[in-house]
Amino acid sequence: MKIFIDPPNSLVLFDLVERFGHQPLSTMAAIQERVDNIEVDMPPMNVTLDDVVKGLKYAGVEVPSGVRGRLAMWGPLIEEADAAIVMDDCPYSFGCVGCERSNLMVKYLLKRRGIPVLRVSYPENDEQAVNFVAQTKEFLEGMK
Protein backbone atom coordinates (compact mmCIF):
# COMPACT_ATOMS: atom_id res chain seq x y z
CA MET A 1 0.00 0.00 0.00
CA LYS A 2 1.04 3.61 -0.49
CA ILE A 3 1.91 5.36 2.76
CA PHE A 4 2.37 9.13 2.92
CA ILE A 5 5.04 10.20 5.41
CA ASP A 6 5.22 13.49 7.28
CA PRO A 7 7.88 15.04 7.41
CA PRO A 8 7.78 14.05 3.75
CA ASN A 9 11.60 14.01 3.40
CA SER A 10 12.30 11.87 6.50
CA LEU A 11 14.90 9.12 6.11
CA VAL A 12 13.71 7.26 9.22
CA LEU A 13 10.05 7.13 8.19
CA PHE A 14 10.91 6.30 4.55
CA ASP A 15 13.14 3.44 5.68
CA LEU A 16 10.64 2.02 8.18
CA VAL A 17 7.77 2.08 5.69
CA GLU A 18 9.88 0.22 3.11
CA ARG A 19 11.26 -2.17 5.73
CA PHE A 20 7.76 -3.24 6.76
CA GLY A 21 6.66 -3.87 3.18
CA HIS A 22 4.90 -0.77 1.87
CA GLN A 23 5.61 1.97 -0.65
CA PRO A 24 6.46 5.33 0.95
CA LEU A 25 5.18 8.49 -0.76
CA SER A 26 7.84 11.13 -0.20
CA THR A 27 8.93 14.53 -1.45
CA MET A 28 12.03 12.98 -3.00
CA ALA A 29 10.04 10.98 -5.57
CA ALA A 30 7.97 14.05 -6.47
CA ILE A 31 11.10 16.17 -6.92
CA GLN A 32 12.80 13.41 -8.92
CA GLU A 33 9.98 13.53 -11.47
CA ARG A 34 10.58 17.24 -11.89
CA VAL A 35 14.36 16.83 -12.06
CA ASP A 36 14.10 14.11 -14.72
CA ASN A 37 11.22 15.37 -16.81
CA ILE A 38 10.83 19.14 -16.50
CA GLU A 39 13.26 21.76 -17.73
CA VAL A 40 13.31 24.01 -14.67
CA ASP A 41 16.44 25.29 -13.04
CA MET A 42 16.32 23.89 -9.52
CA PRO A 43 13.16 22.11 -8.37
CA PRO A 44 11.52 22.49 -5.91
CA MET A 45 12.79 26.08 -5.59
CA ASN A 46 11.60 26.84 -9.13
CA VAL A 47 8.12 25.81 -10.15
CA THR A 48 6.13 25.74 -13.36
CA LEU A 49 2.82 27.47 -14.01
CA ASP A 50 1.11 24.08 -13.78
CA ASP A 51 2.42 23.66 -10.22
CA VAL A 52 0.92 26.99 -9.19
CA VAL A 53 -2.45 26.00 -10.67
CA LYS A 54 -2.26 22.58 -8.97
CA GLY A 55 -1.54 24.28 -5.64
CA LEU A 56 -4.75 26.29 -5.96
CA LYS A 57 -6.68 23.05 -5.58
CA TYR A 58 -5.36 22.64 -2.02
CA ALA A 59 -4.97 26.23 -0.82
CA GLY A 60 -6.86 29.42 -1.68
CA VAL A 61 -5.46 32.24 -3.79
CA GLU A 62 -5.00 34.43 -0.70
CA VAL A 63 -2.59 31.88 0.82
CA PRO A 64 1.14 32.75 0.41
CA SER A 65 2.72 31.33 -2.75
CA GLY A 66 5.20 29.26 -0.72
CA VAL A 67 2.36 27.27 0.82
CA ARG A 68 0.76 26.72 -2.60
CA GLY A 69 4.09 25.63 -4.06
CA ARG A 70 4.63 23.06 -1.32
CA LEU A 71 1.07 21.79 -1.53
CA ALA A 72 1.35 21.45 -5.32
CA MET A 73 3.99 18.82 -4.55
CA TRP A 74 2.48 17.14 -1.48
CA GLY A 75 -1.24 17.42 -2.38
CA PRO A 76 -1.17 14.81 -5.18
CA LEU A 77 0.79 12.48 -2.88
CA ILE A 78 -1.86 12.82 -0.15
CA GLU A 79 -4.57 12.09 -2.73
CA GLU A 80 -2.69 9.00 -3.84
CA ALA A 81 -2.05 7.68 -0.31
CA ASP A 82 -3.88 4.77 1.31
CA ALA A 83 -2.60 5.68 4.79
CA ALA A 84 -0.19 8.10 6.45
CA ILE A 85 2.34 8.32 9.26
CA VAL A 86 2.83 11.71 10.88
CA MET A 87 5.65 12.47 13.31
CA ASP A 88 4.74 15.10 15.90
CA ASP A 89 6.88 17.20 18.25
CA CYS A 90 9.94 17.13 15.99
CA PRO A 91 12.90 19.43 16.76
CA TYR A 92 12.94 22.70 14.85
CA SER A 93 15.27 21.64 12.04
CA PHE A 94 13.80 18.15 11.51
CA GLY A 95 11.70 17.86 8.36
CA CYS A 96 10.75 20.52 5.85
CA VAL A 97 11.45 23.70 7.77
CA GLY A 98 10.38 27.13 6.72
CA CYS A 99 6.61 26.98 6.71
CA GLU A 100 4.61 25.69 9.66
CA ARG A 101 1.37 26.65 7.86
CA SER A 102 2.14 24.15 5.09
CA ASN A 103 2.72 21.45 7.70
CA LEU A 104 -0.60 22.27 9.39
CA MET A 105 -2.31 22.24 6.00
CA VAL A 106 -0.90 18.77 5.28
CA LYS A 107 -2.37 17.48 8.55
CA TYR A 108 -5.70 19.08 7.67
CA LEU A 109 -5.73 17.53 4.19
CA LEU A 110 -4.95 14.11 5.68
CA LYS A 111 -7.82 14.48 8.14
CA ARG A 112 -10.18 15.60 5.38
CA ARG A 113 -9.31 12.58 3.24
CA GLY A 114 -10.30 10.26 6.08
CA ILE A 115 -7.52 7.71 5.53
CA PRO A 116 -5.93 5.89 8.52
CA VAL A 117 -3.27 8.16 10.04
CA LEU A 118 -0.74 7.13 12.68
CA ARG A 119 0.45 10.04 14.84
CA VAL A 120 3.80 9.24 16.49
CA SER A 121 6.00 11.39 18.69
CA TYR A 122 9.66 12.12 17.94
CA PRO A 123 11.60 9.63 20.12
CA GLU A 124 13.72 11.47 22.69
CA ASN A 125 15.24 8.36 24.34
CA ASP A 126 15.72 4.62 23.80
CA GLU A 127 12.46 3.65 25.50
CA GLN A 128 10.45 6.00 23.30
CA ALA A 129 12.35 4.72 20.24
CA VAL A 130 11.27 1.13 21.00
CA ASN A 131 7.68 2.34 21.35
CA PHE A 132 7.96 4.34 18.12
CA VAL A 133 9.27 1.40 16.09
CA ALA A 134 6.78 -1.06 17.64
CA GLN A 135 3.86 1.29 17.03
CA THR A 136 4.90 1.89 13.42
CA LYS A 137 5.37 -1.84 12.83
CA GLU A 138 1.96 -2.71 14.26
CA PHE A 139 0.29 -0.02 12.14
CA LEU A 140 2.03 -1.03 8.91
CA GLU A 141 1.51 -4.76 9.42
CA GLY A 142 -2.16 -4.07 10.11
CA MET A 143 -2.44 -2.28 6.76
CA LYS A 144 -1.55 -5.37 4.71
Binding site: M28, A29, I31, E33, V35, P91, F94, A129, V133, E138
Partner: protein
Amino acid sequence: MSEERETRLFMISPGSMLTPDQMVRMIHSFGDEVLVKETCYGCLVEGPRDLVIAVRDKIRENYRNEVFTKVRAYPCSDPRRCRAQHGTRPGFAQLEMEWELLARIQYGLAQVEKGAVYVPAKEKKRISVNDFKKICEVQQ
Protein backbone atom coordinates in the same frame (compact mmCIF):
# COMPACT_ATOMS: atom_id res chain seq x y z
CA MET B 1 8.65 7.48 -9.82
CA SER B 2 11.08 7.11 -12.70
CA GLU B 3 11.93 3.51 -13.59
CA GLU B 4 14.98 4.63 -15.52
CA ARG B 5 17.13 6.06 -12.78
CA GLU B 6 17.10 5.73 -9.03
CA THR B 7 19.57 7.38 -6.71
CA ARG B 8 19.59 6.04 -3.18
CA LEU B 9 21.23 7.41 -0.10
CA PHE B 10 22.58 4.89 2.41
CA MET B 11 23.30 6.22 5.87
CA ILE B 12 25.17 4.27 8.54
CA SER B 13 23.84 4.47 12.09
CA PRO B 14 26.29 5.97 14.61
CA GLY B 15 25.79 2.79 16.66
CA SER B 16 27.34 0.64 13.92
CA MET B 17 30.99 -0.44 13.52
CA LEU B 18 30.65 -0.29 9.71
CA THR B 19 32.52 2.52 7.93
CA PRO B 20 31.54 4.22 4.64
CA ASP B 21 34.71 2.80 3.04
CA GLN B 22 33.82 -0.78 4.04
CA MET B 23 30.27 -0.32 2.76
CA VAL B 24 31.43 1.01 -0.62
CA ARG B 25 33.88 -1.90 -1.01
CA MET B 26 31.08 -4.32 -0.10
CA ILE B 27 28.76 -2.80 -2.75
CA HIS B 28 31.53 -3.00 -5.36
CA SER B 29 32.02 -6.65 -4.46
CA PHE B 30 28.35 -7.37 -5.27
CA GLY B 31 29.30 -6.74 -8.92
CA ASP B 32 26.11 -4.90 -9.87
CA GLU B 33 26.42 -2.25 -12.57
CA VAL B 34 25.63 0.72 -10.37
CA LEU B 35 27.44 3.95 -9.62
CA VAL B 36 28.65 4.14 -6.01
CA LYS B 37 29.86 7.33 -4.37
CA GLU B 38 31.35 7.33 -0.87
CA THR B 39 30.18 10.11 1.43
CA CYS B 40 30.84 11.11 5.03
CA TYR B 41 27.63 9.46 6.28
CA GLY B 42 27.63 6.34 4.07
CA CYS B 43 27.25 6.31 0.31
CA LEU B 44 25.09 7.11 -2.69
CA VAL B 45 24.12 4.40 -5.14
CA GLU B 46 22.76 5.23 -8.58
CA GLY B 47 21.54 3.01 -11.39
CA PRO B 48 18.44 1.34 -12.83
CA ARG B 49 15.79 0.93 -10.15
CA ASP B 50 15.81 -2.89 -10.02
CA LEU B 51 19.60 -3.01 -9.55
CA VAL B 52 19.55 -0.37 -6.82
CA ILE B 53 16.77 -2.25 -4.99
CA ALA B 54 18.86 -5.44 -5.28
CA VAL B 55 21.83 -3.63 -3.70
CA ARG B 56 19.57 -2.37 -0.90
CA ASP B 57 18.34 -5.90 -0.18
CA LYS B 58 21.88 -7.30 -0.11
CA ILE B 59 23.01 -4.60 2.33
CA ARG B 60 19.99 -5.34 4.52
CA GLU B 61 20.94 -9.03 4.60
CA ASN B 62 24.32 -8.16 6.12
CA TYR B 63 23.56 -5.04 8.16
CA ARG B 64 19.84 -5.23 8.79
CA ASN B 65 19.40 -2.58 11.45
CA GLU B 66 22.58 -0.58 10.95
CA VAL B 67 22.12 0.93 7.50
CA PHE B 68 19.16 3.15 6.65
CA THR B 69 18.16 4.26 3.19
CA LYS B 70 15.96 6.64 1.27
CA VAL B 71 15.57 7.80 -2.32
CA ARG B 72 17.42 10.96 -3.38
CA ALA B 73 15.79 13.23 -5.95
CA TYR B 74 18.93 14.58 -7.61
CA PRO B 75 21.52 12.39 -9.36
CA CYS B 76 25.01 11.85 -7.87
CA SER B 77 27.40 14.78 -8.38
CA ASP B 78 24.66 17.07 -9.67
CA PRO B 79 26.19 20.57 -9.67
CA ARG B 80 23.00 21.99 -8.17
CA ARG B 81 23.45 19.87 -5.04
CA CYS B 82 26.94 18.33 -4.80
CA ARG B 83 29.27 20.22 -2.47
CA ALA B 84 32.34 19.03 -4.38
CA GLN B 85 31.02 20.96 -7.37
CA HIS B 86 30.22 24.01 -5.23
CA GLY B 87 26.56 23.12 -4.93
CA THR B 88 24.46 24.33 -2.01
CA ARG B 89 23.74 20.94 -0.36
CA PRO B 90 20.51 22.23 1.22
CA GLY B 91 19.38 18.85 2.56
CA PHE B 92 22.34 18.33 4.86
CA ALA B 93 20.74 19.90 7.97
CA GLN B 94 17.95 17.32 7.78
CA LEU B 95 20.42 14.45 7.27
CA GLU B 96 22.41 15.59 10.30
CA MET B 97 19.29 15.56 12.48
CA GLU B 98 18.32 12.10 11.22
CA TRP B 99 21.84 10.77 11.79
CA GLU B 100 21.54 11.68 15.49
CA LEU B 101 18.29 9.71 15.68
CA LEU B 102 19.52 6.56 13.92
CA ALA B 103 21.25 4.96 16.94
CA ARG B 104 17.94 5.06 18.84
CA ILE B 105 16.02 3.64 15.89
CA GLN B 106 18.65 0.88 15.56
CA TYR B 107 18.12 0.02 19.23
CA GLY B 108 14.33 0.15 18.75
CA LEU B 109 14.45 -2.21 15.75
CA ALA B 110 16.67 -4.66 17.67
CA GLN B 111 14.29 -4.68 20.64
CA VAL B 112 11.22 -5.12 18.42
CA GLU B 113 12.92 -8.09 16.73
CA LYS B 114 13.42 -9.56 20.20
CA GLY B 115 9.69 -9.21 20.82
CA ALA B 116 9.14 -5.76 22.34
CA VAL B 117 5.63 -4.42 21.78
CA TYR B 118 4.05 -0.99 21.90
CA VAL B 119 3.20 0.13 25.41
CA PRO B 120 0.92 3.18 25.45
CA ALA B 121 2.07 5.98 27.75
CA LYS B 122 0.11 6.37 30.98
CA GLU B 123 -2.60 9.00 30.76
CA LYS B 124 -1.97 12.03 32.90
CA LYS B 125 -4.75 12.61 35.46
CA ARG B 126 -5.69 15.74 37.33
CA ILE B 127 -5.08 15.53 41.08
CA SER B 128 -7.94 16.07 43.45
CA VAL B 129 -8.37 19.39 45.27
CA ASN B 130 -7.67 17.75 48.64
CA ASP B 131 -4.38 16.27 47.40
CA PHE B 132 -3.40 19.62 45.97
CA LYS B 133 -4.19 21.30 49.30
CA LYS B 134 -1.97 18.81 51.12
CA ILE B 135 0.92 19.54 48.75
CA CYS B 136 0.48 23.26 49.31
CA GLU B 137 0.37 22.81 53.09
CA VAL B 138 3.56 20.75 53.12
CA GLN B 139 5.38 23.47 51.20
CA GLN B 140 4.30 26.25 53.62
